[in-house]
Symmetry: C2
Subunit: 341 residues, 2 copies
C-alpha cells in the first residue's frame, strides 16, 4: 500500500503497484468521426439521436455502448466489474443514471464538469490499488446537443458563437481498471482543487480552466519531484487554443516550460479550419475518447513512456451564470505509464 | 487491508480497522430548527438567505459554515484535511463548487441525489482505510428554495403539494474521518446500485427510492451474513411515511422483518401535524444533518452499538421528468459502530 507515503500539504498519491487499464472503448459522434482522430475511434455513431427520442437518451445510449464494449474488450462480463465511477455534464447526471441502470453495477456518480473522467480514473485507481475490487469501470460522456440545451440556447435559436468558444463533443469513453493485464499503468494521481480567478465568460471556458490546469500541473511536478521533461506529454482535457496560450504563460510564470510537450485533447479532436469549431472541442467525452482512442495506444506501444493526463472542468451552471457568478475551474491529474507486462 | 476480502458478485467492503468519525457539524434551517430535532443541531440559521443574494449562494454559505465547524470540532485546521468528498442536489453541483472553493482542499464532486452523504462516507472511508489520507471530509447540503427552483416550480407560484411529497430540508452536514480519535467507526459499506421499477411520480419520491433501499439492505445483510437483529437501527435517508410502508413490505417479501428497528431521517426531522410537511423531509442535507446531530451521538454514547445508515436518492431532473422518464432510486449503505477508543 502506498497510503502511508502521503505528505502533509500534498495531495498526490504515488501508487506502488499501479492499476492497469485493461480495456477501453471510445464511441464518437458523426462530427468527431469526420475529424483528425476519426481512424482511431472504436465506433462512430452516424445518428446524433442514436435511435432515441431525445438528446439526453441519445447520450445515455452512448454510455451503454461504450460500457459494453470496454467490458468486452477487457475480456470480462458485467458481473466481474465491481464498481462504476461515472458522470456527465447534465443536471443530476441523467445521462449516467439512465445509461448505466442496466449494467446493475454499484455506481458512484461523479461530477467534475469536463474533468469527470480524471476524477473517475483517480477514484477507480485508488479502489483497485487498495484491493477493494478486482475490476472497476471509469466512464464519462457528453453530447453536443444535450449540452447546448443544458448550458446555452436551444439549437433552433441558431445563436452565434464567439471564437473563444469550444464545441462540446458527442461521445463516451469507458475504461476498465484491474491489477494486471494491460499495457498502461496508472502510477500516480494529483486530485484537483477548485481554482477561481473570477473569470465570468462562459463563452471562454478555456481561460476559466487554465489556472486550475496550471495549479494541478505544478503540484504534480512538485509532489513527485519531477521536471516537465520527465513526461513525454502533458495533456490537458479541453482548454482549446485560447486556454492553451494562457496555460503555457501561467506555467512559465511558475518556472516551468511545457510548450514543447503540451497537447490538448480539445485541440486534437477537430480540424479548426474545416470543422468550424473555433477554439476546439470540449465536454466530459472529449478527453475521455481521446484518451481511449489516441493516447492509450501510444502508451501501450511504448512510443510514449510517461504522460501526465489532466482533464479540465469549468464549474458553472446556467443558474450560476445568470446570477453573475464566476466560472471556477478544476483539473484532476493522472500519471499514465507504459508497462511491458 | 480489507481489499483482498472482496467476493465476486458482492459489492460490500468490510474494513479491518474502520475509519472513525472524529468531528461532525450540522447546520439547519429555520423550519428544521422548529422541528423535533431542534435541540440537537449545532447551528440553526434563522435567515433562509443566510445573508446572501440568492438561494444557491445561501446553500453554499451553509456548506462553508458546516465545513469550518466540523474541522474545528475535530481539532484540525483546513490544511490537514487532504480530500473533500461533497455534493448537493443542484445542476452541476454549484452549491458545492462555490461553497468549498475557499477551503482549497482537493475535491471529488459527487452526485447521488439525496444519497450523496452515503456516497461521500463510502469513498471517504475507503480513502482513509487504505492510508491515502490522514483526514478527509464528507459533506452534503440541500436548501428548500434552491431545490424547489431546480426541480419543481418557483416558490411564488404557490403550487399545491400532494400528501406523498416530501419537504426538501435546508441544511448541511459535514464529517471529518480519520484513523482514530472518534467514538464511532465505519466498519463496512454497501455501495448502491441504481434500481428502476418504472415509477414516474416525482411527487412520490419515497415510493421511487424504496426498492433501492430494499436492495441495499438485503445485499448488506447477505454480504455480511447478518440478520436485522444484528443492527440496533436500520436508518434510511428520506423515504418519508409513504416510502417507509413500501420499504417494510418489500423487505418482508425478501424474508426480513425490520419494522421494529427501522427509522427514517425524513420522518424524524419534522413534526408532521404541526409543520405541514406531508410525507416527511428529504434532500441531501436531511440524512446528513440527522446523522451528525442525532444518530452519531447515540452511537458515541453506546446507546446504539451498530447501525446501518442508508441515505436514499431519487435520480431525476426536471428534464428527465418532462421527457417522461421514470425516477430510478439508489441507496448507499454505511455500517456505523460504537467504539470505545
Amino acid at each position: 500500500m502506498t497510503g502511508s507515503k502521503f505528505q502533509r500539504g500534498k495531495a498526490s498519491i504515488a501508487f506502488e503497484e499501479g492499476p492497469q487499464i485493461i480495456g477501453q472503448a471510445s464511441v464518437a459522434g458523426k462530427k468527431e468521426g469526420e475529424g483528425p482522430l476519426a481512424a482511431y475511434f472504436d465506433v462512430i455513431e452516424p445518428d446524433p439521436m442514436v435511435g432515441c427520442d431525445n438528446w439526453e437518451a441519445a447520450e445515455s445510449a452512448l454510455q451503454k455502448e461504450a460500457a459494453d464494449l470496454a467490458i468486452e474488450k477487457a475480456g470480462l462480463v458485467r458481473t466481474e466489474v465491481r464498481y462504476l465511477f461515472a458522470g456527465d455534464l447534465l443536471g443530476q447526471l441523467i445521462a449516467t443514471s439512465f445509461g448505466t441502470v442496466d449494467l446493475e453495477i454499484p455506481v458512484f456518480g461523479l461530477y467534475g464538469a469536463c474533468s469527470t473522467i480524471g476524477e473517475a480514473l483517480c477514484l477507480g485507481a485508488m479502489t483497485v490499488e487498495a484491493g477493494y475490487a478486482e475490476y472497476v469501470m471509469a466512464m464519462a460522456s457528453s453530447h453536443f446537443a444535450s449540452a447546448e440545451k443544458q448550458f446555452r440556447f436551444p439549437l433552433e435559436y441558431g445563436n452565434q458563437r464567439p471564437l473563444s468558444t469550444t464545441w462540446t463533443i458527442t461521445g463516451c469513453g469507458s475504461f476498465i481498471l484491474g491489477k494486471r493485464g494491460g499495457r498502461v499503468r496508472i502510477t500516480g494521481i494529483t486530485p484537483g482543487k477548485i481554482v477561481d480567478m473570477g473569470l465570468k465568460d462562459s463563452m471562454n471556458m478555456g481561460a476559466c480552466m487554465a489556472p486550475a490546469a496550471c495549479d494541478t500541473i505544478c503540484r504534480n511536478l512538485e509532489d513527485f519531484g519531477r521536471r516537465p521533461k520527465d513526461y513525454d506529454k502533458i495533456i490537458t482535457g479541453d482548454l482549446g487554443e485560447v486556454g492553451q496560450k494562457i496555460l503555457l504563460d501561467f506555467v512559465k510564470s511558475r518556472g516551468y516550460e511545457i510548450a514543447d510537450r503540451h497537447m490538448d485533447c480539445g485541440i486534437e479532436i477537430f480540424d479548426k479550419e474545416s470543422q468550424d469549431t473555433h477554439s476546439g472541442g470540449s465536454g466530459c467525452g472529449c478527453s475521455a475518447i481521446v484518451l481511449a482512442a489516441y493516447i492509450l495506444p501510444k502508451l501501450a506501444s511504448g512510443e510514449w513512456k510517461r504522460v501526465l493526463f489532466l482533464p479540465t472542468g469549468a464549474l458553472l451552471s446556467s443558474t450560476s451564470f445568470n446570477e453573475g457568478q464566476s466560472v471556477p475551474g478544476i483539473a484532476h491529474g493522472v500519471v499514465l505509464e507504459h508497462c511491458s507486462e
